[in-house]
Point group: C2
Chain length 151, copies 2
DNA sequence: TCGAATCGTAACAATAATAGTTACATGAAA
DNA sequence: TTTCATGTAACTATTATTGTTACGATTCGA
């Protein structure tokens, strides 16, 4: 199966929206994300329901971020997407009759539960303004490289 | 995408093989795992290369576990499978030119790296004899339930 | 009021990863 | 030498994600 890249995509979109202080259309965001405007609408729908963004139709419409970047964590965004499954690995059978398989599932679940909790906690520690600050650092570094690069 | 259930499946297989002190054929294992003997061979091939099991052809052939359950961790088995990707979520683009996307990828990678390390460490803490002991506990509990259950 | 811009959404196609199946070759034991 | 069993390649089936097409609904501005 393909990997789920929705979290990555909407984080990218939110940061572009925050940079620009006017609504961005689905077409514009699709160009940023190298995807399709329908995919943008479909994915952003969850964020709208969660109150992270608002959308407007017609002339001058588009997507606007509703909250300050410092008040949104990656976990908020993950939740707004409906908390998709994080792990690629899973059980062969969910409710096995075989007691051996039950014991295996239980051992795997224990390990995965801890890892999932840690990941979600980490997502909750990162607000989007932190990522925006990292972007600015990278932009400065690139400028510096361009102006001193002799290749 | 379908979930990867190979780790679950081979753990299940290894425990059945350990219970039985004779080689088990791919057909027998396939019946235990509700799958196909070719899938069993394909998946077990990695464990054979890692030295966890051996296989024999012809009459009396089949699969035998090579090491004591107490010397094999879930992590060993995971490694023998080629350390498949653990996460369902990922980046939209691996090497983006967009600095915003680079910053997003970096933030996600940080969180996922920690979670992956924890999961792999947890897998390394569980030896297969621990799972076998849990199986025995479950078997006793089921017997007890059967003998006292009045429904 | 009309028309262009824009989102909302359903339905369908494309892509990719896993798992299952068929077919046949290889090797070992009775 | 026949039967049992693995080894493996090639193909199919299944499933989740992503992309596309089509059309309806709403909003703004001329």
């Amino acid at each position: 199966m393909k990997k789920n890249s929705r979290l990555s995509a909407v984080l990218h979109a939110l940061l572009h929206m925050a940079e620009r202080h006017a609504p961005m259309t689905s077409d514009e965001l699709a160009a940023c994300l190298s995807t399709n405007p329908v995919v943008v609408r479909r994915t952003m729908a969850g964020l709208r329901e969660a109150g992270l963004v608002s959308s407007g139709r017609g002339h001058g419409g588009g997507w606007t971020i509703s909250r300050d970047l410092s008040t949104i964590t990656m976990r908020d965004v993950y939740s707004a997407l409906g908390e998709p499954m994080l792990f690629q690995i899973g059980h062969a059978e969910e409710m096995p009759g075989c007691l051996v398989e039950q014991a295996v599932n239980h051992a795997l679940d224990d390990a995965m539960r801890d890892a999932e909790a840690l990941l979600v906690a980490r997502l909750g520690e990162v607000t989007l303004d932190i990522i925006a600050a990292d972007f600015i650092t990278r932009a400065k570094a690139r400028k510096l490289t361009l102006s001193t690069d002799t290749t």
